[in-house]
């Protein structure tokens, strides 16, 4: 890398030009999606205006739309994320007290690359470096729930108001839940070996990243994330398309409307065993909202699906006692419930 400074500079321009061109093509294509889906459905031997036509149009329109949006968002966030690493986040959080630490942890959770397969090393790495337990939890709650995929898709499909409220309430849940867990002083409920471990400080050479490296990181993120979640998205859109075409609006607004108070806890309960990521659940959210489901109920469902996932709890069992996992679930679920009710109250 060091020997080719000159060609690197020239190719920075090439990258920026290429990205600008790609974005222009992206917008041109994106504007054609709606007319194209109408046209495509008209060519099919389906009676116009039928439930099937409505479903098919939703599917044909939403699939490229969501995939294109996702590509754009993931690329941009991949570039942003190249400025953050879990090791750096830990170094920032290690000296923090509770309170401010919870806020910082939740905020950093948005940007720090996180994969649930890394949840255990991350948890242990944080706690052993002196990051308070509650602060670690704030991070662990925020990281999967408020990620770039969720925010980008919410913004693109449902508008900035929904995206911003989701961000605000997601952060609040992560901060408050982590703080509550910290107040409870549950360090004794960690698995024994976690309590005793004293991790060495890692001295990773901070990579001197060029802008090309960052663009490449963005592109790698696209390949990796879009490559990993595309089938979730297709499945989510298929469910969304079915809801869009076949589920009567009146039925949904009765069972998921703002007047049905029990729908919020039901949505949270339903969400726990379901495991999907934000990319798969958002097309469903879009279709549910279109049919008159209440925003709070739908967001509670979405948060529950993403933040309270059974596989992640099974992984965390390696470091947390069952009691501590139960407290974690109870605190987070209460937070989601509160958000659901509040939303339905505010926006109905």
């Amino acid at each position: 890398m060091t020997t080719q400074a000159l060609p690197l500079k020239r190719s920075t321009g090439a990258w920026i030009g290429g990205i600008a061109l790609a974005v222009a093509i992206w917008f041109a294509l994106y504007r054609q999606l709606q007319p194209f889906s109408r046209w495509a459905v008209a060519q099919l031997p389906i009676p116009q205006g039928s439930a099937l036509a409505s479903s098919v149009e939703f599917f044909i329109y939403d699939t490229p739309k969501v995939l294109m949006l996702l590509t754009l968002v993931v690329f941009a966030m991949g570039v942003v994320r190249s400025f953050f690493s879990p090791e750096r986040t830990r170094a920032i959080l290690a000296g923090k007290r509770e309170g401010l630490g919870n806020v910082a942890a939740a905020g950093l959770g948005i940007f720090t690359p996180f994969c649930s397969c890394s949840a255990v090393p991350l948890f242990v790495g944080f706690v052993s470096a002196g990051v308070p337990l509650g602060v670690t939890f704030s991070f662990l709650i925020a990281a999967p729930m408020i990620n770039e995929v969720a925010l980008g898709l919410l913004f693109a499909l449902l508008g900035w108001k929904v995206a911003l409220t989701y961000l605000a309430f997601g952060l609040t849940i992560a901060i408050v839940s982590g703080w509550v867990i910290g107040r409870l002083h549950l360090e004794g409920w960690l698995e024994e070996w976690v309590r005793n471990i004293r991790a060495g400080d890692v001295d990773l050479q901070p990579d001197e990243l060029t802008w090309i490296d960052r663009f490449k990181a963005g592109w790698d993120a696209v390949k990796e994330i879009v490559g990993k979640v595309w089938y979730w998205i297709i499945a989510g859109i298929a469910v969304g398309a079915f809801i869009h075409g076949y589920v009567p609006a009146e039925l949904l607004s009765r069972i998921m409307g703002a007047d049905a108070w029990w729908s919020v806890p039901a949505a949270v309960l339903l969400g726990v065993p379901m495991y999907s990521n934000a990319a798969g659940i958002i097309p469903v959210v879009e279709a549910l909202l279109g049919k008159g489901a209440a925003l709070g109920t739908v967001l509670a469902f979405m948060m529950s699906v993403i933040a309270l996932s059974l596989p992640e709890m099974i992984i965390l069992r390696k470091v947390l006692s069952v009691k501590l996992i139960a407290v974690f679930v109870a605190v987070v679920a209460s937070g989601i419930l509160a958000v659901g009710f509040l939303f339905n109250f505010l926006f109905s």
């Binding site: 690493s85 090791e87 986040t89 090393p121 242990v124 790495g125």
Partner: protein, 78 residues
């Protein structure tokens, strides 16, 4: 002989990392012994927070995500 340790609980990317290390070492003609560390406690003791991690001759050179090929070559040659 370089001692390389690949740290990771056994996710797909950890296996890929292990193969990359072996392949790059073979390409460069460097003699390596590659050991996989899957135990969480042992991983945590190295101080890394994200996996897969790579340790060469006792020094952590990488943590989180697949390594880049040219970085890998640089670490192996160092």
């Amino acid at each position: 002989m370089k001692e390389v340790k690949v740290l990771g609980p056994g996710c797909a990317r950890c296996k890929t990392t292990e193969e990359m290390v072996k392949m790059e070492a073979a390409k460069l003609g460097i003699d390596v012994s590659v050991e996989k560390i899957t135990d969480y406690e042992a991983i945590a003791k190295f101080g890394i927070v994200s996996t897969p991690g790579i340790v060469i001759d006792g020094k952590v050179v990488h943590a989180g995500g697949l390594p880049k090929t040219n970085d890998l070559q640089r670490w192996l040659q160092a």
